[in-house]
Symmetry: D2
Subunit: 248 residues, 4 copies
Amino acid sequence: MIKVGVLGARGRVGTEVCRGVEEADGLELVAAIDAGDDIDGLVSAGAEAVVDFTHPDVVMDNLEFCIDHGIHAVVGTTGFDDARLDTLRGWLADAPSTGVLIAPNFSIGAILMMRFAVAAAPYYESVEVVELHHPTKADAPSGTARRTAELIAAARREAGLGPVPDATSTGLDGARGADVDGIRVHGLRIRGLVAHQEVLLGGPGETLTIRHDSLDRASFVPGVLTGLRAIADHPGLTVGLEHFLEID
Amino acid sequence: MIKVGVLGARGRVGTEVCRGVEEADGLELVAAIDAGDDIDGLVSAGAEAVVDFTHPDVVMDNLEFCIDHGIHAVVGTTGFDDARLDTLRGWLADAPSTGVLIAPNFSIGAILMMRFAVAAAPYYESVEVVELHHPTKADAPSGTARRTAELIAAARREAGLGPVPDATSTGLDGARGADVDGIRVHGLRIRGLVAHQEVLLGGPGETLTIRHDSLDRASFVPGVLTGLRAIADHPGLTVGLEHFLEID
Amino acid sequence: MIKVGVLGARGRVGTEVCRGVEEADGLELVAAIDAGDDIDGLVSAGAEAVVDFTHPDVVMDNLEFCIDHGIHAVVGTTGFDDARLDTLRGWLADAPSTGVLIAPNFSIGAILMMRFAVAAAPYYESVEVVELHHPTKADAPSGTARRTAELIAAARREAGLGPVPDATSTGLDGARGADVDGIRVHGLRIRGLVAHQEVLLGGPGETLTIRHDSLDRASFVPGVLTGLRAIADHPGLTVGLEHFLEID
Amino acid sequence: MIKVGVLGARGRVGTEVCRGVEEADGLELVAAIDAGDDIDGLVSAGAEAVVDFTHPDVVMDNLEFCIDHGIHAVVGTTGFDDARLDTLRGWLADAPSTGVLIAPNFSIGAILMMRFAVAAAPYYESVEVVELHHPTKADAPSGTARRTAELIAAARREAGLGPVPDATSTGLDGARGADVDGIRVHGLRIRGLVAHQEVLLGGPGETLTIRHDSLDRASFVPGVLTGLRAIADHPGLTVGLEHFLEID
C-alpha cells in the first residue's frame, strides 16, 4: 500500500485525484493539503508519494520540501521551463532514490495519440493537427497540440521527408491555421466540448486519422494513478508520463 | 427530351457533364463544344439549354450568345461579381422566357449542409466551419466554406444571437482560423482528400455536426442535371442551385 | 414569471431540471416533489406547469392530478403506448385550456438531427443510422435511433425511393446491424461515451453525415425549458418537442 | 533496377499496379501478363519479382512456376488457407533464396490502424470495430475488420483484460453487430463510400479513435511497391505486409 499525499487537494483537479486515490487498489490517501494547510502534514502522515496540482508560484517550494524529505512527486502543475527542470535535477542529485515526474498531460489517450502520430508520420506526405476545446480556454492552440506538432515535425525530419505540400496562394489570414515547425495546427472553441484532438495524415488515395476525446475531466485520473504506482521505480527526474507506459 | 449543349466539353469537368447528360433520362447531348470550336454549333444542333464550365474570360461572351438565341444556361464557371450579374440581368430583361442559373456549387450535399447549418444556427451558442481539401487547391478557405459562414452569421444576427464565445487571449497567429463575419473558418490541405466540409455547432452539453464529403469529382453531376431539368421553368437570373430544390 | 413544479425532483434528471428552472429567466421553481412527498403541494404552491421525470408506474396518476387541477405538464417519463395516450386525450377533452407535452427526447440537437435526416433522405440512395452509448444502457438500438430510422423509412417511401442497395450475400450474423423498416441501425457501447448518434446518407461520389453528441446529461435541460415556456400556448396533447420548435 | 512482372495485368487492380511500377523509382515493368498469355513470358523477360492479383483458381499454379524459376512473388490474390500456405512452404524449402509475400491487405494505412489498435487495446475497457464500404461488397464484415477484431481480442487476452462491458438486455437482432472473438464488429454499406474502418476504444471519461479511409483504389499501390522492394531480402514465406514495415 503506497501512502499518498495530495497537494492542491481542494481544487477541481485535486478533488478528482483524492477520490481516485481513495478508490484505487494499492494506494492510500494519507494527507489532503491545500493553500493555508501546513505542508509538514505530509511528513507526519507518512506520505511516500505526493500528487501536486497547485500553481506555478508554489510548486517549486513544494517540490523542494518533498525532495528534502525523500517523498516522490507526481506533478501536473504547469510552468516548468528549462531553468526549473535544471534546478530540480540539482536537488535530485542529492536524493538519488527519490523520483519526480513532471507531466504536461496525464491522459493516457493523449499520450497514445502522440505516439501513434509519430509512428505514422514517416509514411504520409501530409499531416495536420486539429484541437477542439470549450470556449473558456485561454490559449490556442493547446499545449498538447503544439507538442504533437513538434513531435511530428521531428519524426518527418528524421525520416527525410520534405515540407508538407500546400499550394495555397490566396485566401484569408488564419485560414490555414498556425504553423508549428512547419505543421499546421487548428484550434476550435465550441460550447459543449471538453478536450479533443485529431491528427489527420494523408497520402495518395488514403488518410489515417487518430482522434482523442476527453469527455470528462476525470479522464486524467488513470494516468495519475499509473504515475504513483511507477514513481518509486523511476528515481531522478522524468518529464512525460509516456516514459512510464509500455507501448511498442 | 431536352436538347443539351456543353461548353467546355473537353475539360475535366465538362467530360463528366457530357457523360452524365448522355446517361440521363430525358436529356440528349446535341453539341459538345470547347475552345476552338464554333459556338454557332449550338444553334445548328438545336440546343435548348447549355451547361457552361469554361473560364471567366469567355463565359460572358458565351452567355450573351445563348441569351440572344433563347438558349437557357446552367453555369458552373466562376468569377461572377455584382457587375457581371447586373449585366446578365440587363440581357435577360430583353429575353423574358430565357433562364440562366449561376451556381457556385452544384453538389446537392453541399447545399443541404448549408441549409441545415442555417436552420440549426439559432439554437446554438457556438459554431465553426472546417473545410478539408487536397493540397493542390489554391484558395483557403474554400468558397463554399466562406459562403456557409456568411449564411450562418446572417442567421445568427436575425435570431438576435450575439458573438460566439471565445476566451482566447494568448497563442499563435492563425490558430483560431480565419474570421468570416465573426464565424471562424479553418482550412486543411491533406493529400488523399478530395473536398470535405464540416459545420460544428455547440451548446451546453451537446454538439451537432453536419458534414459533407465529396469523394469523387462526379458528385456534382446530379446537381447539373437537376439544373438542366428545371431551368426552363425558371426564366430570368437565378444564383444558387438551392432555389431549384424542394427542401423544407 | 411561470410557476413551475418538478415531479421526480430528487432523481438524477430531476435534480438537473430543478437547477435549470432556478437559473432560467421567466421561470420560478415553486415545488420540488419526489416519492413520499404529497402531490397536493403543487396546488398549495400555485404551480402553473410541472415537469415530470418519474416512473411509468406513477406518471398516469400524476398527470390525472395535474389535468384535474389545470396544471400544464411537460413529461419526460417513458412508457406511453397508444392506450395511455388515448386516456390522456380523454382527460384533456374535459380540460380544454390545459396542455400536456409527452416528449421521448428533450434534446434539441437530437430533434434537429431527425429533421435534417428526414429532409435529406429523398436525395440519397443509401442511408444508415449508428448510435453510440455508454455500456450500461439496457436497450439496443436506442429509442431515438429506432425513431430516426422509422422517420427516414417513411420519407423514402413518400419520395418513391426503393430499398437501399445492399449486395451482402455472406458474412456473420449481426454484421449489418438491426433492420428497422428496411433501414439498418447499429448500436455501439463504449465506456467513456454518453449519448451519440450519426445518420450517414450517400449517393454517387458523396456522403452527408449528421451527427449529434450529448456529452453531458444536462443537455436535455434547454429542451425542457423550451417546453415549459411554450406549453400554455399548446392546449391538448402534444407528442414530441419538435412541434414546439420553429424549424423550416 | 528490379525487373517486375505483373500477373493479372489487365484487371482493375493489375492495371493500377502496372502504372505504379512504371512510375516508381528503382522498378522496371518487363512483363504484363493476363489470362490467355503465356506465363513463360516472365522468364524470357528476365522478371526478378512478380505481383499476382489474379484468382484463387490459378494463383497456386502461378506461384509454383515462379518458385521453380527463382522469381520472387508479391501476392494480393485471396483464398489462402493453411493447406495452401503449407504447400507454399514445401515448395520454398527447395528454393531457399526465393521469397513469397502473401498479403491480405496492401494498404499501409490499414496495417498501421491494426498495429495501433493492438497497441492501445490493453489500456481500454471497451473497444468496437466499424467498417464502412460501398454497397456492392458481398461480405460483411470485411476481412480487414474481422482480422482487426481477432488481433484486438488476442491483445486483450494477453493483457489479462476480461470481456468488454455490455449491459444490453433487450433490443433488436443485429443491433449490437457481429461477435468476433468477443469484439463487436459493425458493417455499413453506403453508396459513395469506398473502403473505411474505425476502431473505437474507451475508458472512464475518454475515447481513442483510429480511422482509416481509402478514398481511391490506388491506395494499395504504395504497399505493393514496398513489398517489391523488400521481397528479395525476405526469402521464404511471409504472411502480411506488416512484417516488411518498420513501426515501433
